[in-house]
Symmetry: C2
Subunit: 224 residues, 2 copies
Amino acid sequence: MGCSVADSNIFKSLSKEERELLNQEKNCNSYLKGDIIYHEGNRISGCYCVNKGILKIYKTGIEGKEQIIAFAQKGDIIGYRSILSSEPACTTAQVIDDTLLCYIPSEILLSLVKSNSSFSLDLMQLTCKELNQANMYIKDIAQKTVRERLAEILLMLKTTFGEDGEGYLQIILTREDLANIVGTATESVIRLLSEFKSDNLIELSNKKIKILNLSALKKLSYDL
Amino acid sequence: MGCSVADSNIFKSLSKEERELLNQEKNCNSYLKGDIIYHEGNRISGCYCVNKGILKIYKTGIEGKEQIIAFAQKGDIIGYRSILSSEPACTTAQVIDDTLLCYIPSEILLSLVKSNSSFSLDLMQLTCKELNQANMYIKDIAQKTVRERLAEILLMLKTTFGEDGEGYLQIILTREDLANIVGTATESVIRLLSEFKSDNLIELSNKKIKILNLSALKKLSYDL
DNA sequence: CGGTATATTGAGTGTCTTCAATCTCAGTGG
DNA sequence: CCACTGAGATTGAAGACACTCAATATACCG
């Protein structure tokens, strides 16, 4: 079926044989909005390569409040960390937009890591990149105001997911999800969004968001 | 000289020959409090293994305010991420307590990663562990109050650095450094420390901190 | 078309930050 | 030995920012 594991950047160093092995062993499935792929704390027996759709990766905190750590979309690989460390999943992965995933059993991933040092290095670089992003976000969340972070997140969503024909962000989130990325209360997101709107920085159409004034948002987010 | 790279956990999978190679190529130096090992944004040509002492690893944010991301002590390896990704350093490393470091040239590290898949996997697991810690901290900083985070950090300092004979934390930080871990203002740290003190949770002797009531601090930090 | 989930708005409050003044301590030089 | 100095620590007061709670409105789903 139309699975494009091979297109994914992370698998670019695989040999033809390795790619075939992967294609034999992998297993594609589709999932609906709301479906949970794996749950924080559970053991998982493989990882997933995203073929289509969008997922949110989050940790659950005090009184069940989610903290969204990352999103995954086409080409991304999720759950690999728990496989590498052979530890229970440290996050939950949930479908935001109907998704097609390829399951890769852990033995396959581990054997590739062991046998192909380029692949291994690529994977390591991916982890390092994610680590750096996490560190930047720690700094931001510790030092910026909610307004600045919301502006920053909107810009991130634009660069990560792009816009549709009308200029609306391709990713559609609830206000609560937005709050759970920014790390604030839902009401604060609502108030700030409407403030951004009246300042003509963005346009709102229900859940859809259009970015009108990129540079002003950048300035606002201190992303100079 | 008394360099114990070999003792470090991360090098446990190296063969005798690889260990010898490392010993030939590495280079030990001592550094004083305040010395900067590498600076955010600079290219570095190798990484360091900590033999003795304590360093802080931080990012510099708005108006020069530091955000401390991690500490490093005996057995830890720092700067390896930039080597693996061949990118400029994404953090600054500065000596907090007089330090002895072994320099490992990047070629050596990279060749070990390529030739020894167990070492490579160990390094990957280390990165994954750091990534998970970073994600947990994002959640905490986004969801917990400053009081809760300060309690949590005190506990972390205790488990990471231990106590001296009198029960004081082995690591000595300025109030400003503490604030730069917790992600708050120096004055807030001061006020909260004195609050903890009057609640008999801790004892203060200048910069030294003694933890008196571990379980109350745990409860306070929601670290149940 | 109902029912539920999500969004919105307002009011009140608490936590934390900022700014400014003062204090303490360790190190330095006379 | 002591005054001097600068860095860090402390305290107080004022105010901003963001959160909570509660009520209401709107959108979405079957």
